[in-house]
Symmetry: C2
Subunit: 282 residues, 2 copies
């Protein structure tokens, strides 16, 4: 393996390149970003050494790390043009539609559907960090449809980055992600909006908000350009998660109105369990 | 100043004692907790050196750091019995009802209504940390009703702990806190519940949840015994905040249903501002 091409040089694409360069210093990184400023920053930061919209023919691995609404067109275009020894892998947060789009392509075996469970509320090449992916989960969908040699190369790379591989059905992936990731972003954005709408004096928000508020509202700093397309791609699952969330909030509100404080305490105590699950082994 | 008595030896009461002991090592700390295990832990951890339900007559400062539903009775009882040189200060997350309850007491001038904007999702003496209050905001309500010498002593103590004093009307405090703290807890608890209800396989939650989910759901680990009473004390403000939050979530859901992706992006972009406000000067 000698050459990697990364399209989308933001937080995830950039962090992947920085991490991979550390463990494989001999690798050549080329890449592209539709935003000229990102492309310039990625070159300056050493994320890539050559800017090029098209990967060189001897590229082993092409990584697509652009917003999810651009992935289908980009993936099909890349598959159309790659030689037999190149693997195309994506980092999209939604997988079902993309896997469907790829399913009829004659070079489907040269695609690996991936999703690194990593990120921060920041975006762009300057937010990239070589340890962002370290010890994180990398979900792979439809692994059985990828060529065994090509996916072997990808597994080697991901394991060299200390990532933990998990395999999952694409539809199941999207359904779960709506609950454990996409819903969190919606809840955080709307929490931020509710506070901004109500509290006109920003000084009060700043003074009175503790670390708890900062934590719950952190994701409201996320990029709208990235999250708009995720809401679109995973619409039905997100609507299900959001409707259940609104229903739970409404039932909680009813209990406050009814002054059912024992019921409220019981709901909160039961939910403390989520802490144990997340702390498990971390 | 030589003696401080702390009632409620949990996260806040314990952290206050540990911090104050560092800057004033000559001080004697006595205290009490209705939970015998907490009392034992607080002695073992050096939070207090003597367990006693009643403060000694020569106590300078009595701190009430118990759940908000216990504060009214405790405050009035303490005011009834203290001598003229003792200040009683509370750390409750709600202030309006407590200030009202204290308003007719003949020793009202010996009470300082306080609220340190600090905490974690953990509770009990073992969660106490000497740096929890460092550089945090301490809100004081109705400062004009407290005796000038006694409040001078309190300000000295709080400033020695590096706390930043802010002064506010009690009703205004409760209204704002409903938005920047209490609502976050409700949103976090219900987010945790929604995920727990839906995802039966805990392994999936653990594998697929990134740091974003962990951040938004962190407060769902909070103590139900502490938060039940806050929901009760600040009922009307929390209902207002929660209703606005549910309305915002419902409007966001409508936009997803209508596929108004430009509208969704615009909502998210506008809300990014909350990040700037919270980062300001931190």
């Amino acid at each position: 393996m000698k050459k990697t091409h990364i399209i989308g040089l933001g937080l995830l694409g950039g962090s992947f390149a920085l991490a991979l360069r550390k463990v494989k210093p001999e690798l050549i990184f080329t890449g592209f970003d539709a935003n000229p400023k990102n492309l310039e920053d990625a070159l300056a930061l050493g994320i890539i050494s050559k800017a090029s919209e098209q990967p060189d023919p001897d590229t082993d691995l092409i990584v697509l790390a652009t917003p999810v609404n651009t992935l289908e067109e980009l993936l099909l275009k890349m598959l159309d043009q790659v030689g037999p020894n190149t693997l195309v892998m994506d980092f999209g947060s939604t997988k079902e539609n993309l896997c469907k789009a790829a399913s009829k392509h004659p070079k489907r075996a040269q695609y690996l559907a991936g999703h690194p469970i990593a990120g921060t509320e920041y975006s762009g090449p300057k937010a990239a960090k070589s340890d962002l992916l370290d010890k994180k989960v990398f979900i792979i969908c439809e692994m059985e449809l990828t060529d065994v040699h090509l996916k072997g190369m990808a597994y080697d790379v991901l394991e060299a980055l200390n990532m933990k591989l998990r395999f999952m059905d694409a539809a199941e992936h999207d359904r779960h992600l709506a609950f454990v990731s996409h819903l969190s972003h919606v809840s955080s954005f709307m929490l931020g909006k509710t506070v901004l709408d109500k509290m006109e004096d920003e000084k009060n928000i700043f003074d009175m908000a503790g670390s708890g508020f900062a934590s719950t509202v952190r994701l409201a700093k996320s990029s709208a350009d990235m999250w708009g397309p995720i809401l679109e791609e995973n619409k039905s699952n997100i609507l299900e998660a959001l409707s259940l969330y609104i229903a739970n909030l409404s039932k909680f509100r009813d209990k406050i109105i009814e002054e059912d404080y024992e019921g409220l305490k019981s709901e909160m105590s039961k939910t403390n369990k989520i802490g144990d699950i997340l702390d498990l082994g971390r």
